[in-house]
């Protein structure tokens, strides 16, 4: 379970550019629910994720993971239970290191990074098993530098790495936006599989309305720091892209866009 209670966030406080994004933002995501979040640019989707993960501080309110208040915890402490994949495929991996080294790093999350050898050769078989189902050929190029991979390959690796160790929450920040349609589809299916298999509680921000409707059990639409649409279960299944687009347009018209 993941909760944001009356979160407040003001950008540039005390200046002419002061912008109150969240006045009193609350969201509760029950155990192992997969939530898609849509909304126009500047509606607060990414800010919400950043506050949740601790990348930016909240100015008020509280954040709870499984009932534990983590509002004051630092980003890397929160990361123990969370995996995060970014829009930019380069952000989730180390480009100057090899696939094997990246996987070894991720495999060790939660354990001490001490003076033992970085790569455990006995785990290589397991890494290959993880990579092979992607069909991207990564399992045969473990010693390739990650910087030489394509965006899709790199994003797939980021996703695998983020969920390698037992995590409870998966945060996806437009993680298919920088990929071509076919690769995006591959990454989405992989995401869905990981979330189901590991029974993760997942939040996915996306601009792709089809993905938002097709995947996950709940859809949220955000606008100006608030939630304007929240459907789950049967209600969500009844929604079509046209319905969502209609709401989207209505909001935009109100805004004068």
């Amino acid at each position: 379970m993941l909760e944001m209670r009356s979160v407040r966030k003001v950008y540039n406080p005390g200046t002419v550019r002061e912008l109150c994004l969240f006045e009193d933002f609350s969201l509760t995501v029950p155990e192992s629910q997969f939530v898609s979040v849509v909304g126009s640019n500047g509606s607060g989707k990414t800010s919400m994720l950043n506050i949740l993960c601790g990348s930016i501080p909240a100015d008020g309110g509280s954040i709870l993971l499984e009932g534990r208040d983590i509002t004051r915890e630092r980003e890397h402490v929160r990361a123990r239970l969370m995996g995060r994949v970014y829009q930019n495929p380069a952000m989730g991996t180390c480009g100057s290191m090899t696939i094997l080294e990246n996987l070894s790093l991720a495999d060790n999350k939660g354990k001490p990074y001490n003076l033992r050898f970085g790569t455990d050769k006995r785990r290589i078989g397991r890494y290959r098993e993880l990579l092979a189902p992607l069909g991207l050929g990564l399992e045969n190029m473990l010693n390739a530098r990650v910087g030489s991979l394509s965006g899709g390959q790199r994003q797939a690796l980021s996703l695998i790495m983020s969920a390698m160790t037992p995590i409870r929450f998966l945060i996806l920040d437009e993680h298919t936006a920088a990929l071509d349609p076919k690769t995006a589809e591959v990454i989405m299916r992989l995401t869905d599989r990981i979330v189901r298999e590991k029974k993760l509680t997942a939040l996915m921000v996306t601009h792709n309305l089809r993905y938002a409707l097709e995947y996950g059990g709940r859809i949220l639409m955000m606008h100006q720091g608030g939630i304007v649409l929240d459907r789950s279960g049967e209600e969500k299944r009844g929604l079509s892209i046209d319905d969502v687009l209609k709401i989207f347009n209505e909001i935009s018209v109100e805004c004068g866009n």
């Binding site: 890397h76 480009g95 790093l105 060790n108 001490n114 003076l115 050898f117």
Partner: protein, 312 residues
Amino acid sequence: MGIGGKVDGILLTNFVNALPSTLEQGLIYALLAMGVLITYTILDFPDLSVDGTFPLGGVISTTIVASGAHPALGLLASLAGGAAAGLLTGLIHVKLKVRDLFSGIIMATALYSINLHIASGKSLVTIGRKEATLFQNNALAGFLDRAAGEFGTLALLLLIVLCMKALLDLFLKTKAGYLLRAVGDNERVVTSLACDKGRVKIIGLMIANGFAALSGAVLCQHQRMFEISMGTGAMVLGLASVIIGVSLFRRLSFVRSTTAVVVGAVVYKMCVSFAIACGMGASDLKLITAVLFLLILSAGLLKKERREKRRA
């Protein structure tokens, strides 16, 4: 024509005669270059504190050796001193959120006074003829002198550099080493691995400054004296060696960056020695360093630009 040929001949003779000592200098500075490799290349942290930790190592080792203690103790103490200074630079940067460049400058400035204090206020400390240094008046040096003759010092330096290089190579293959490389490459990955990126940076700075101090310590035992301004330009010198080494072996991916940097330091010292053989005086040393560094940087930067264009 004839005169030109004769001058070239003298120049070459001077250069060749100085070669063993150039190699020795190159190897000593290779230790410093490895430290700069850790901060500049691996951590992506332009650490100027080496300008202070290089002489810090020098003064610690000189005072310890001059007091009659074992030269190895001088090296160990320098290593510890350098690491402690690196810890402070790291804390200034991470905890007080001072920019990387400034953290180093603050540390180097403070260390100037601290080094003077350790030297009891003297800007020059010498090691007496009778004291044992790494290279004289000890069993190992005696053995190497008998075995390798005039190259005994060179052999010992090679041994030290290879040992430190092997240790660094090994460290970079450990889990902690992986994390160090990751923090310079992409801080977010370290955070998402539930590790404190600040702590990793601090550890990197400690190791790097340990190397810098060790380099200064060996240099002072080699020249049997410490001089307060020996740190000026240490960062530039180390960085030049790193860039030369890395550029030389850019296309040979099997050459480790640590190896490249050791070669870089030797090549760098050879360039300086060549400039001196050409008739430049000792007072021009820092000028040579600066001009050489400028040449390397402008050439290196052009290469980087081209590479990025190709990528885009």
